[in-house]
């Protein structure tokens, strides 16, 4: 029996279980109600139905899941015992390749094999697979009946079917929430593991404080020493994300928020606010394209006209400016929230003293909202330094340690992309460096976020 058919059969059994259990519960309920005692039937019949259906399905499906893991091993074992397997090569790698192929052909996933030997093994595979598939199906159905029968016998007026079913629902919800932890662990472990390998090749001190970044020459075999100093990347990242972008985003974002929340009429606000939000919805690859093709050449021409040395067609300024624009809605919505969180009574208090609106904003609202705004800016910074496409497309690859905004600098994210796309080699320091950079980025954004959220939260609480 093949998989879909088996699943269909089990689903059918589940439905039958649901219907019959529910019917039985209804009968019991009618009988119980005759006694007139309140709450004589603990749970609604539907819950009994679900309870039995779950008992029918869960064990058999669980079994199938386990069986799916175990049976290939059994199948392979059976095949290895077949005479055709005797001719297999001793070398483990080729052997498993041959076996894998034979299996793929046997299950119809592949037309022919890469290795000629696999043909001989197809038949034994086919036989073993169908043998174990039948066995698995039979066991699954048996389990379904056993589970269903057990549950069915438990239907009684005072049986708390609802509680049981709800407990399962809760367990499912809780399990879902654990996925967040698993993901975090996945990130940390994937970064940490590769980074540790990197740090076994390159001294972390050199990495974190070295001033020279040239992983390509390391890849050329000139040695790792001096090649992995990440300071120029850190500087480039900060220069673009935390300095230039913020010089654009903070005043524009903050003033936009102030204008929209404090001055704009509802009509104006209704139109302009979504437009700002649209800025946040534009994909970063579009910003990158725009920065690289429109802004960067214009800036280079400008720099050339002003005789600024080091002007490059991919400048920190181009990437930073566009990134700043991208961040505007972010800053503005954070500022908006913070200002909105300042109680109306503050504003009233100030206005009632005869302060003008701008005095109220500048002297009362913004100072009061400051922690929130600062937190928001930190979040924006963390967002900016993690931004990838804009810098990949517009910031360049030269690891310069420069203050000239018209010069090309590179960033952590650019280098990650650069090191990992193309070359897929998994044990050179060059590739592993990407993971180390990722780890640094992760830790920095993590810290920024923790601090920012703390600040914001603490300050919100102050007014609540």
């Amino acid at each position: 029996m093949n998989g879909p058919a088996l699943l269909l059969l089990l689903a059918g059994l589940g439905v039958i279980a649901w219907v019959s259990a529910r019917a039985r519960a209804i009968r019991l309920k009618v009988a119980a109600q005759a006694t007139g005692r309140r709450g004589a039937m603990h749970s609604l019949p539907g819950y009994h139905g679900w309870y039995v259906a779950l008992w029918t399905l869960a064990p058999s499906l669980l079994f199938l899941a386990v069986w799916g893991q175990v049976s290939p091993g059994l199948v392979t074992q059976a095949v290895m015992e077949s005479p055709a397997a005797q001719s297999l090569p001793a070398d483990g790698f080729t052997r498993s390749a041959v076996l894998g192929e034979a299996r793929a052909i046997a299950t119809g996933k592949q037309a022919g094999g890469f290795n000629p030997q696999s043909a001989a093994l197809v038949e034994p595979y086919r036989a073993a697979i169908s043998h174990y598939a039948m066995a698995g199906a039979a066991l699954a159905v048996l389990l379904a009946f056993a589970g269903g029968a057990y549950a069915f016998t438990r239907i009684r007026p005072d049986f708390r079917a609802r509680t049981r079913v709800e407990r399962l629902v809760m367990a499912t919800l809780m399990f879902a929430s654990l996925i967040a932890i698993i993901t975090t662990l996945g990130i940390v472990s994937s970064l940490l593991w590769e980074s540790l390998r990197f740090f076994s090749m390159v001294n972390p001190i050199d990495f974190l404080f070295g001033l020279k970044w040239s992983p390509q020459s390391a890849a050329m075999g000139y040695g790792n020493e001096d090649a992995f100093g990440a300071v120029p990347l850190f500087w480039g990242t900060i220069f673009i994300g935390a300095i230039i972008a913020m010089i654009v985003a903070i005043p524009l974002g903050l003033m936009s928020a102030v204008y929209l929340t404090q001055y704009a009429s509802p009509v104006v606000r209704r139109w302009l606010k979504p437009m700002l939000e649209v800025l946040a919805g534009v994909p970063t690859v579009v910003y990158g394209y725009f920065a690289a093709l429109t802004i960067a050449p214009a800036l280079r021409d400008l720099a050339a006209a002003l005789h600024i040395p080091g002007a490059s067609s991919e400048s920190a300024l181009a990437a930073g400016l566009v990134m700043g624009v991208m961040i505007i809605p972010f800053v503005s919505s954070m500022a908006d929230d913070s200002i909105a969180a300042v109680p109306q009574s503050m504003r009233d208090g100030s206005l009632a003293m005869g302060a003008t609106t701008s005095e109220t904003i500048r002297k009362v609202l913004i100072p009061a909202a400051l922690p929130g705004v600062v937190g928001g800016v930190l979040l924006a910074v963390s967002r900016a330094i993690g931004e990838t496409m804009i810098v990949v497309m517009a910031a360049g690859l030269a690891a310069n340690l420069t203050l000239n905004p018209f010069a090309s600098v590179t960033t952590v994210t650019t280098q990650i992309v650069q090191l990992l796309t193309g070359d897929q080699e998994f044990d050179s320091a060059k590739t592993l460096a990407a993971f180390a950079l990722g780890l640094v980025l992760f830790i920095v954004t993590l810290l920024l976020n923790i601090v920012a959220l703390r600040v914001v939260k603490k300050y919100r609480e102050a007014y609540e």
Binding site: A97, E101, R103, G113, S214, A219, P297, G396, L397, Q418
Partner: protein, 334 residues
């Protein structure tokens, strides 16, 4: 004992389209052939081609035999001995080497550039990290290198170390320039490693700008920086003659003819490598190779895209390789 390995066969499963990795120089030709292949073989899925650079591609290619590994490696230089050995070690036993054409390592500047005239020696002296082993390169402008050149700052956009183009730059130009010094020739005999470092290591003070795996990007940047020099495949130059112009090397212009005849110093063969073990397992692989062969001649679809056809002789050898699937002999490699 290895039963469970075979069991985890979901990914070892199957593939019904060709997968190629490797050189960005060969990439446009490979994709062009892929298109022709699909058009001529209705019903076939289009090959998946990733531009990873020759070196990066070799690593993927030589990782093993099976559906999860690519079938074809595009290379803008010959496979190295070390790579061949790695292939062998991973069970990639029979590899078919096919020269699909020739490419020139072109030097170019923007249309409105100053009009450089370069030689391998000049290039070496401008780009080497440690010219002739005499300490770090101090040249700031081209004039510092050779008085005949304009006094503009040295700025060369070129490919990264994983690319075959970079290997070709080292081999065809830098080493040649380096060997203009007798001491270096002697060094080669004495200390191969030292020689390599001195002759092929490129400076890292920002004069040579590592411009990523994608030659297109170099072209774009060049067009925007009139005083810079770009290094990339000849085909890219040809495609962009409206915004770029060629820089003659030792007085030879990079043209179809000079490259084809080998007069141009930067000419180099382009290859594809195919796993024999995949030939029968991947549908259409043979037809794909045939499509390559059908189009690599002079006037063929590939030369229209800027590839330079290989010599008659080389083409014939390659056609044989496609037909007979003759495996590569590792001992011939360096």
């Amino acid at each position: 004992a290895c039963g469970d390995q075979a069991g985890g066969g979901a990914s070892a499963g199957t593939r019904d389209q060709i997968r190629a990795v490797g050189s960005s120089t060969v990439y446009p030709f490979a994709t062009a052939v892929a298109e022709l292949f699909v058009q001529n073989n209705p019903g076939m899925k289009s090959p998946i081609i990733e531009s990873t650079g020759t070196g990066g591609g070799m690593k993927l290619f030589c990782a093993g035999v099976g559906a999860q590994h690519p079938d074809i490696e595009n290379a803008s230089r010959r496979m190295k001995k070390s790579e061949f050995d790695q292939c062998q070690a991973n069970g990639v036993k029979d590899i078919i080497e096919i020269q699909v054409g020739v490419d020139g390592l072109a030097f170019a500047e923007a249309k409105n550039g100053p009009g450089f005239k370069l030689t391998p020696k000049i290039v070496y002296e401008a780009l080497a990290a440690n010219p002739y082993g005499k300490g770090p390169n101090k040249a700031q402008t081209w004039k510092d290198v050779d008085p005949s050149l304009p006094a503009v700052a040295i700025s060369v956009f070129g490919p990264p170390s994983t690319s075959g183009t970079r290997d070709s730059l080292a081999e065809l130009i830098l080493e040649k320039g380096c060997q203009s010094d007798e001491a270096m020739k002697a060094l080669k005999e004495k200390d191969e490693d030292e020689y390599k470092a001195t002759c092929t290591r490129v400076r890292e003070d920002g004069k040579y700008v590592d411009s990523g795996e994608n030659d297109n990007l170099i072209v774009q940047k060049l067009a925007a920086n009139p005083n810079a020099v770009g290094v990339f495949g000849y085909s890219f130059l040809e495609e962009n003659l409206d915004s770029l112009k060629d820089i003659p090397l030792s007085g030879v212009q990079a043209t179809y003819d000079t490259v084809a005849k080998g007069e141009y110093p930067g000419a180099r063969p382009l290859y594809i490598y195919v796993k024999k073990a995949h030939m029968q397992a991947i549908p259409g692989l043979q037809a794909y190779l045939d499509a390559f062969a059908a189009n690599w001649g002079p006037g063929g679809a590939l030369t229209k895209r800027g590839m330079v056809a290989a010599t008659e002789e080389a083409r014939k050898a390659s056609a044989d390789a496609v037909k007979n699937l003759t495996p590569l002999d590792g001992s011939a490699l360096k």
